[in-house]
Symmetry: C2
Subunit: 304 residues, 2 copies
């Protein structure tokens, strides 16, 4: 057993310390604590001492493009998020487009960081083509999640939704199990619906046309405007942040958020919080051994 | 019969002329030409000579809030769109939040205008609560469309998607016809699924959870951050624009867009164009009579 806060401290130090290292470490350890190890410290398998965070330079920009190839992706996304927060505070609204991003985990921790900083954050990530267009027969875009966060404390909302019916990892698991897939989530190589995991050539969009169009918006932002599409070095990711307090007395967005939360949950809706760690979260001995292993490997390569 | 270009000229003049009047006029007439008269010149029923466009002031801002109550909504949204385009060109990225917006038609023409100006545009609109949360039983948000556009010419893409299963107008039509509703689009006053239009108390989100979360994102932007939620004077609307050319040689987004369009349509997907008028579009005599009536009424009130 290891307390999550201790695990974050140790990993944060190993990643060089400072706010970006802490955000990256928290994001990975949170995923393991939430039972999503695919998005957790498994990402450390790609770390090498050459993978330094991107240098943002002294100039602050409202709109920025960053090539993250050759960077450790969780730290690159965290560094870009912190820079974006500073830019949004200065300019009111700011955006950053990352490309060549290797596995970085979930978007939720990064937009949540923006919300905790008093901003609103919107983000999306594209990836290799696994998902067909609505009505289509071949994979053309990634599982393309979109995330949004605003607010603090109990009212904070953190949305992080994939635009595909499931992930390729789900398909691999079903294939390993030999279990049939639910209906309506995948197509075979001829573009026909299939429930056999071994036959899957394309995933379907989530919720039909609306998920397909949302996945297309993410692809247009992160893949086209951001230049990430088809880059063999990694994914395209975008983040947009703005400062709702810049409205001054024109709006009372905190009261508005509290009211919307009351209406939404009072009407039977689920108010998404995007994970996050309770202060007393702990991880099991197996996790601790894996973390020790990664940290030892990171020290070993540092000393090399 | 009247040519659409002539109708746009006449309405544009009646709205005071200039680029914002032309954009507003085109947006309304396009809706009639597309067979969506609810979003067309019917909006002119709300025009009075007191409803001047918002004064943007000489100062350009990257982030702006505008109270549009007491403004003719199509002209207010058009004026804000043109100001936003100038701000995005200057700052790289810009956003505007409108509140108190009465009926203004479809979002598509406004984000398409941004695309034609070489920018990328994202927009959303919230409205009166007709739609339940996924898993919920009572109406909590509007039909909350989201729109996005980028590109020019044949590659241009214009997405404009509602986040609800249908509109209240669809329900009213079914009620008038006495025809049963499709399954899975509405709830009655007890939160139970219904196919009887007269019993409808809430619409369901489009595509289940993904449409519900997207509707919530729009509400958080236009309703909460923008301050539009619950304002009896009208809806909340947001527009965000950025300049993809600011990447310089870092990306070739035009080639990327052309490639995505080829992949998307080649894989059987539909490339959304968001309406728009062919140069030779014409409207029928009934439309022409209605337009004449509105224009006469506008002149009458002007001369008063």
């Amino acid at each position: 057993m290891i307390a999550a806060v201790d695990a974050v401290d140790r990993l944060s130090s190993a990643l060089g310390g400072g706010p970006a290292a802490r955000l990256a470490a928290s994001a990975l350890i949170e995923a393991d604590a939430l039972g999503q190890p695919r998005f957790g410290i498994a990402m450390l398998g790609e770390w090498t001492p050459d993978l330094r965070p991107p240098q943002m330079g002294a100039d602050m920009q409202a709109l920025r493009w960053l090539d993250c190839s050759g960077r450790f992706a969780p730290l690159a996304v965290a560094t870009a998020t912190l820079d974006l927060a500073a830019a949004a505070r200065r300019f009111g609204v700011a955006a950053v487009f990352l490309r060549g991003v290797r596995g970085f985990g979930r978007l939720a921790p990064f937009v949540r960081h923006l919300a905790d900083a008093g901003l609103a954050g919107l983000a999306g990530a594209e990836g290799p083509p696994f998902v067909a267009a609505h009505g289509g027969t071949r994979p053309v875009i990634g599982t393309n999640p979109l995330a949004f966060a605003i607010g603090q404390g109990a009212d904070r909302v953190v949305i992080d939704a994939a635009t595909s019916s499931c992930t390729m990892a789900d398909i691999r698991e079903a294939r390993a199990d030999g279990s049939p897939l639910p209906e309506g989530i995948a197509l075979d190589g001829q573009g026909r619906p299939t429930r056999v995991a071994a036959e899957v050539a394309a995933l379907l969009p989530r919720g039909g046309q609306v998920g397909s169009l949302l996945g297309l918006v993410v692809e247009l932002m992160a893949g086209v405007a951001g230049g990430g599409r088809g880059d063999p070095a990694g994914r395209g990711v975008f983040l947009v942040a703005f400062d709702p307090d810049a409205a001054g007395r024109e709006t009372d967005w905190r009261s508005g958020l509290a009211g919307l939360r009351r209406d939404w949950t009072g009407g039977g809706g689920y108010w998404p919080r995007g994970g996050g760690l309770p202060p007393d979260a702990a991880l099991d001995a197996d996790f601790e051994r894996r973390l020790d292993g990664y940290l030892a490997a990171m020290r070993g390569t540092e000393d090399r």
